[in-house]
């Protein structure tokens, strides 16, 4: 029997030389007359260990990392293919605490399977949710999603089942399912990992949404910065269609669902759902006023389910194991799990899927091991560029949508960016305004002009004009309440949280503890 060796094909592994490691493994094995079966799996999400090479042994899969191409000969010399000791040995994958302390529901297959193998997918519970959905009527499928308590994982946390119910009830000749894979937020990659690492899960989730709502056409809108994700998704759709999981007659059910990838073109604002619809329609990504809501008048004016990648990806397991199974994870009204992405200046950054209720401190220290630089952690931005900078006093608040909202911060999509004490929060606040100015779609004035004025006012404040503080607060108020969408409306989040919690960085003295 040939040796089974796994080398991830996830972008983050490729960016650290996984292809070169794979080439070297094949060459070394050939030289030594060893027959190997090289599997390009997805990433486990332990990014400080990438490229993480795994070998199949009688005791289970054993991991070595981070492996550089020049380590490969030494690994073979040490007999790593039998699971032998080596300085890069991380032990049995199942024994790695960072992994076995997680609650991986959506990411259960991540790093385990070959992302493009339908056989692998089915062997690991794949399409069990779809088969169950096909055995139910549409209303029962919607009810499962409603009962699971699943809320939109893209950041807004709107109950997915309610959206689906609205689309299901709408009367139209054509309905659509659209997946928002325009994951532009710094500090997030759970969508990218899913697209690259478990594409059939997304296809399955979207197909279930189509069955539940009567949609027959779907689009996945993927950002152009993710070329590997685009390629994997297109290949996966081709394979799923050829095998009858997509197309005119899904698993001989008589139901049709066609799926297509649309590549975005580098506009951050197209992550806003209505701008995304405009973009798919072939227009400038300019935000639409709501109402009408996309569930009633969405893509090409038709009823449209729009969810983020992780929302759709959470659906198969809900159908496969039942709403109660999923609902029992989490706290309060935040049911299920969230794939947290621990990023930035942190020693052990990675993908951590946990039930809601874990704290930032647990994530950053118990999992993350503190800062990468070894310096004290000063601020943590949670929920992307439009999320607040969270100071230490909130690091023990359970991560749950309502508990976070109560102190004026947001969980968002679970992206966490850690900054050490060298960070200048006034600079980060200025960057937030600058980014908004670059990326604003231009439709509404508070966002288009406010962001440019914001940069100027922060510069004035920094140059010692303390009167500019009131002006900045006033401007943020206008942007919050006057912007058409979250781009302008939430840019004040990072700005005001920086100003409130780190006034000294703006050259101001600390003034009590104002709300974020």
């Amino acid at each position: 029997m040939s040796l089974q060796i796994y080398v991830p094909r996830d972008s983050a592994a490729l960016a650290l030389g996984a292809d070169e490691v794979a080439t070297s493994l094949v060459a070394q094995a050939r030289q030594r007359g060893l027959e190997i079966d090289l599997v390009r799996n997805s990433s486990r999400g332990l990014f400080w260990l990438e490229p993480l090479v795994e070998v199949q042994t009688p005791a289970g899969r054993v991991a070595y990392g981070p492996v550089a191409p020049e380590d490969v000969a030494g690994l073979f010399d040490a007999q790593f293919h039998t699971g032998a000791d080596h300085r890069l040995k991380q032990g049995r994958v199942d024994d790695i605490p960072y992994l076995n302390q997680q609650e991986r529901l959506t990411f259960a297959r991540m790093g385990v399977t070959d992302p493009l193998s339908l056989a692998d997918y089915e062997a690991h519970e794949g399409f069990a949710g779809l088969r169950r959905a096909l055995s139910l009527n549409a209303a029962e499928v919607v009810q499962q999603v409603l009962d699971s308590g699943l809320r939109g994982r893209g950041g807004a946390a709107f109950p997915a089942g309610i959206k689906w119910k609205t689309v299901a009830a709408a009367q139209a000749a054509q309905k659509y399912v659209v997946c928002n894979a325009d994951e532009g937020d710094s500090g997030t990659y759970s969508d990218r990992m899913t697209l690259e690492g478990d594409p059939f899960m997304l296809i399955e989730g979207m197909t279930i949404a189509a069955i539940a709502t009567g949609a027959t056409q779907g689009y996945i809108y993927i950002r152009s910065e993710y070329p590997h994700a685009v390629a994997v998704m297109r290949e996966a759709i081709g394979r799923a269609t050829a095998a009858g999981f997509l197309g005119a007659d899904i698993l001989q059910s008589g139901k049709a669902f066609h799926l297509e990838v649309r590549k975005a073109a580098g506009a951050y604002v197209c992550g806003e759902e209505t701008a995304m619809l405009e973009s798919i329609e072939g227009k400038r990504g300019v935000v639409r006023a709501k109402p009408p809501i996309p569930a009633l008048k969405g893509l090409f004016g038709q009823p449209t389910v729009i969810n983020n990648v992780i929302t759709f990806a959470s659906v198969p397991i809900i159908l496969a194991r039942g709403a109660d199974f999923y609902k029992n994870y989490g706290v309060g009204r935040s049911h299920g799990t969230l794939p947290f992405q621990l990023t930035g200046n942190v020693k052990h950054g990675g993908l951590i899927e946990k039930a809601f209720g874990i704290t930032l401190r647990q994530l950053m220290f118990d999992f993350g091991g503190g800062s990468a630089s070894g310096r004290p952690i000063k601020a943590v931005q949670v929920g992307g560029p439009l999320g607040a900078y969270v100071p230490e006093k909130y690091w023990d608040v359970p991560m749950d949508y309502e508990a976070y909202a109560a102190v004026g911060i947001t969980v968002g999509h679970g992206g966490i960016v850690v900054h050490d004490d060298t960070a200048d929060l006034s600079q980060l606040a200025r960057y937030a305004m600058e980014f908004c100015a670059i990326e604003s779609c231009g439709k509404c004035t508070p966002c288009r002009i406010g962001s440019t004025r914001g940069v100027e006012v922060i510069d004035r404040l920094k140059s010692g004009d303390t009167k500019a503080e009131a002006l900045l607060r006033d401007l943020c108020d206008t942007m919050t309440h006057g912007s058409l969408c979250a781009m302008g409306g939430l840019t004040p989040n990072p700005v005001l949280s920086a100003l409130n919690h780190y006034p000294q960085d703006f050259g101001l003295c600390a003034t009590g503890e104002p709300h974020v």
Partner: protein
């Protein structure tokens, strides 16, 4: 003016996808994949085939950062400037790149490299990240930058 070959290439790319609902973005991607940029002289043909005005097509091309209005240098270097990369020194990396290539972004002084900012490559746990000629690199510091750019330059 476009050469006749380029014009025919554009027209056949447009014809291949014009039937798609919302065909404009897929068509623009195909043109940029083939030519490396979207020539202004091609907009008229695209507009006509899709029954749009030239202004509408120009509006779309100019809205999206990804579409180029002119060809890039033989070597394209994109450095992520978003928050997670900032937290690990992306600003210093950008400054290093600017001084190394003698540009503030855009074409390098010798014309060999186009340097561009990019906002998130999804490599936020192994930052700072960059792209050299479509290949991703993570945990980049000044030394690694110099090595990668030199290697790509000699390969070109």
């Amino acid at each position: 003016m476009l050469t006749e070959t380029t014009r025919q290439a554009v027209q056949s790319l447009v014809a291949a996808k014009k039937h798609l609902p919302g065909a404009l973005l897929p068509i623009l991607h195909d043109i940029q994949d083939a030519l490396g940029f979207i020539p202004a002289q091609a907009l008229g043909d695209i507009a006509q085939a899709l029954n749009l005005s030239r202004a509408e097509v120009h509006g779309v091309v100019s809205f999206y950062h990804f579409f180029r209005h002119e060809p890039a240098a033989p070597q394209v270097v994109q450095i992520c400037r978003a928050e997670a990369c900032q937290s690990m020194g992306a600003d210093a990396l950008w400054a290093h790149a600017c001084s190394r290539l003698q540009t503030q972004g855009g074409r390098s002084a010798d014309g060999a490299v186009t340097l561009e900012p990019v906002y998130c490559l999804g490599l936020c746990s192994s930052s700072p990240a960059m792209v050299v000629n479509e290949k991703l690199h993570a945990r980049v510091d000044a030394d690694k930058f110099d090595r990668l750019v030199a290697a790509a330059g000699s390969a070109a």
